[in-house]
């Protein structure tokens, strides 16, 4: 008996769905699995989930995505810092912002490149070390405002989390 075309189509698409579905949730699974092992699970899952690369990424690539976030965010924060410094009323605020500019500039020029190289080439301990250093640099920037909340505290918070998560992901690969 000849099978009706519609049944053939149905069974074919059923098989397709069954084979594809596990992969679709597997990638979200990897993001969740990885983020649970970082200090900022929710932040990590949100930041990675938003990036289209995360659906097919392995752990190493998730780390690279996070380092990209550290870099991109540092660059945009630098622009913000320069703008705020131009408007700053207090010389102390100006000074603190200059110090932050140094910290963020340092992250972009000296901490991001070796972290990317480390993750790409498989000597992961350097990404752990340099992303930790980035966390410290951000904390120094925030601390430069003498204990009160800085005008860039939201940016610092994001960068702190992004760098800490990047370091933790690299640590999972050791």
């Amino acid at each position: 008996m000849k099978t009706p075309a519609v049944f053939k189509l149905l069974s074919f698409s059923q098989i397709l769905l069954i084979t594809v579905l596990p992969f679709a949730s597997a990638s979200t699974d990897l993001v969740n699995y990885t983020c649970r092992k970082t200090p900022y699970t929710v932040f990590c899952a949100a930041a990675l989930g938003l990036d289209p690369r995360s659906s097919t990424a392995d752990t190493k690539t998730l780390g690279l995505i996070m380092v990209d976030k550290v870099e991109a965010h540092a660059k945009s924060t630098l622009t913000k810092i320069k703008y705020l410094r131009g408007k700053a009323a207090h010389p102390r605020t100006k000074q603190a912002l200059t110090s932050c500019e140094q910290s963020y500039g340092f992250i972009v020029s000296a901490m991001v490149p070796p972290s990317k190289e480390s993750l790409t080439k498989g000597d992961y301990k350097f990404a752990v070390e340099y992303m930790n250093a980035a966390v410290n640099d951000v904390q120094e920037c925030e601390a430069g405002f003498g204990g009160s909340k800085s005008p860039i505290s939201d940016s610092n918070d994001y960068e702190h989390k992004a760098a800490a998560v990047a370091s933790a992901i690299a640590g999972l690969l050791l």
Partner: protein, 653 residues
């Protein structure tokens, strides 16, 4: 999580040829007898099977063994615990490192002022050493290919020509006639081939009996794969071995199929077997088990992966910079073997950035090495050095028949300061390595005797009484480049009267030199200023155990080494065996921002980096101290001023 393996690389030598099976299609003519079909089918299968059998590489597939039950005992416990060593061997891991937080960030939780220290050029330039190997600028890491050749000691090193942070790695090169006075040569190898374009990583030298030199090394390829390669001197009659040639047949090895392409590196020096072949090891990991593969070659042209693993230890993670060599109370050539010869297995653990070794027995025929004491197996037991010391490598010095150890000493200040000062990392002083025949269960390390040639004027202090709770200044000139040899004796009455301690002392978990008890701490304060606002204590700490046995620890305390907040503030150290009748002895080499300590003739070693801001130049002093509450201590010591090694670029006379 296992990742799918991409298609075979052209250099993969382990894959058997694969011939598709000729399957029989269902015959449409029902009149052909089934038996005939079966007969034809089976004989086709037989023929194909024979063809496959003869065409494939007949050497056993290590990966098949890895996946089978044969190697399971080695590999079980993938993500699991390291077994806790029975003996009190200390593995100080900075709190928080396991959580992915840098040891330096503990300063953040110290509250108060979190700003980085305002380093000035005077402070930063003081940090450069006078007699330790370091390049003129930029970043250095692993020692590579050390060897002695035609009157020169050669030293190569991982180097970043562009920055004071890791990256863009190539091979630096320096030579010396005495392991001390180094002369910089041009870069030996740069990243100029597809198989090492992303990094010319670590490797080792094998000097053949006929004078050829085989340099095996890891390359990070254009696809970021880790591949093993061979290089050799362009001109063997050039004693400086300035130019190097990469073997046209590179790469010689790709990772075995069961190994991730990013977990396969650092080939060792080769050893010559009784079967007339050369063998060398390469470290890797399978899940969380650190492993070592062994390759065999006759001519350094074709290579065979031997079945089995030289050794594996679950839970230790990636094995970097594997080293494998025979030991006795004297130096031994790497190829020495025989009944009663002990072999050392050493690994650098990526997980905690420490170097571990164990002593055991090598079975050449079975290609295995077994530790004497499995509870202190490699990676879970003894370390070469309880401070900062990684990626170390030994070589056999045929010139003076000794085995010499090199170790990479990284910075423990901030990366920001490293970039400011324009350089990062040192090498430890080269150390001779022998088996401690008195204990039989550890190695002894000692600075090579050529270090003594740097000694200038000295001052001797005999039987100085250091009462409990006192500090005694030692009148030497400035103390930034000194060699100190000291002996200590604890007051016998206090020893007898001291109560039994209720716990073992662990340097890294202690309060350092300010944590007092009946019998310790006591020792020396180096890189200390007059009012002790900055000080680096190097001390013994003695506790009484059950049955009146004494247990001694040796520690270096960084916690007050600098008022700067952006430097490590840890206490390093370990238990050190002290045998009946032995006095407590120390050798400390201070060279600006590095302090190398050797206790009990080198049974326990600690290398620390310190960055004082005030106890520098003419303000650096040395003191004896005794912070015990009960025991007085008698100290005898000699302190030498150390000359500079004048490390500089080579220039022909």
């Amino acid at each position: 999580m296992a990742e799918p393996y991409p298609s075979r690389s052209p250099v993969d030598q382990e894959d058997p040829g694969y011939a598709p099976l000729a399957g029989g299609e269902e015959p449409r003519d029902h009149r052909r007898p089934i038996r005939a079909i079966l007969a034809v089918g089976l004989s086709v299968l037989l023929v194909v099977g024979i063809v496959i059998g003869f065409s494939t590489d007949t050497s056993p597939d290590v990966c098949a063994e890895v996946n089978s039950a044969r190697l399971e005992p080695f590999l079980l416990g993938g993500a699991g615990q390291r077994s806790v060593p029975v003996k009190t061997v200390v593995r100080p891991v900075p709190r928080g490192v396991n959580e992915g937080v840098s040891a330096k960030s503990n300063r953040v939780f110290a509250g108060a002022n979190l700003r980085g220290f305002p380093w000035n050029n005077s402070m930063l330039s003081w940090q450069r050493t006078a007699y330790h190997f370091q390049p003129e600028k930029n970043w250095m890491n692993d020692p590579n290919g050390p060897m002695y050749y035609k009157g020169w000691y050669h030293f190569f090193y991982q180097y970043n020509p562009d920055a004071a942070v890791w990256g863009n790695i190539v091979w630096g090169h320096a030579v010396s006639e005495d392991l001390i006075h180094w002369l910089y040569l041009p870069l030996a190898m740069v990243a100029d081939q597809w198989y090492d374009i992303n990094g010319v990583w670590s490797g080792s030298a094998t000097v053949l009996p006929d004078g050829q030199v085989m340099m095996l090394y890891t390359g990070s390829s254009n696809e970021s794969q880790q591949l093993q390669n061979l290089a050799y001197p362009a001109n063997l009659s050039d004693p400086l071995l300035i130019d190097w040639v990469k073997h046209p047949g590179n790469p010689i090895l790709a990772p075995p199929q069961c190994i991730d392409k990013l977990d396969f590196r650092d080939p060792t020096t080769a050893w010559y077997t009784s079967g007339g072949k050369w063998r060398f090891a390469v470290g890797a990991k399978i899940n969380k088990t650190g492993v070592s593969f062994v390759y065999e070659t006759e001519d350094f042209k074709s290579y065979k992966l031997l079945p089995g693993l030289l050794h594996a230890v679950p839970g230790t993670g990636m094995w970097e910079c594997v080293d494998f060599f025979p030991v006795s109370d004297d130096g031994l050539d790497t190829s020495v073997n025989g009944p009663g010869v002990k072999h050392v297995m050493k690994v650098s653990l990526d997980d905690d950035r420490h170097d571990y070794y164990a002593i055991g027995t090598y079975n050449e025929e079975a290609n295995t090495w077994v530790p004497d004491s499995p509870e202190i197996d490699v990676g879970i037991g003894i370390r070469y050095d309880y401070g900062i010391f990684y990626a170390s490598k030994t070589f056999y010095d045929q010139n003076k028949s000794r085995r010499i150890l090199w170790g990479w000493i990284t910075e423990s200040d901030s990366e920001y300061a490293d970039v400011q000062k324009g350089w990062a990392s040192l090498q430890a002083l080269p150390r001779t390595i022998v088996l401690d025949t008195k204990t039989g269960s550890n190695l002894l390390q000692w600075p090579v005797e050529e270090v003594d040639s740097l000694r200038l004027s000295s001052k001797e202090f005999d039987s100085v009484e250091v009462e409990a709770g006192t500090v005694v200044p030692l009148d030497v000139e400035t103390a930034t480049q000194v060699d100190i040899v000291a002996e200590f004796e604890l007051d016998k009455q206090a020893l007898e009267a001291a109560p039994e301690a209720d716990a073992d002392y662990v340097c890294s978990a202690s309060g350092g030199a300010s944590q007092r008890s009946a019998l310790g701490p006591f020792g020396l304060l180096v890189l200390a200023d007059d009012d002790l606002s900055e000080q680096t204590p190097v001390y013994f700490y003695v506790v009484k155990g059950p049955n009146g046995t004494l247990k001694t620890s040796i520690c270096t305390d960084q916690s007050r080494s600098s008022v700067a907040t952006d430097v490590h503030k840890q206490v390093y150290g370990s238990f050190v065996p002290v045998l009946e009748g032995e006095k407590l002895s120390l050798r400390i080499l201070v060279d600006h921002s590095i302090v190398e300590t050797f206790a009990q003739g080198g049974r326990s070693c600690i290398t620390a980096r310190v960055y004082p801001t005030k106890a520098i130049y003419g303000a650096a002093r040395v003191f004896l101290f005794n912070n015990a509450t009960e025991a007085n201590v008698k100290a005898s010591l000699k302190i030498w001023q150390m000359n500079s090694a004048f490390i500089r670029p080579y220039s022909p006379q």
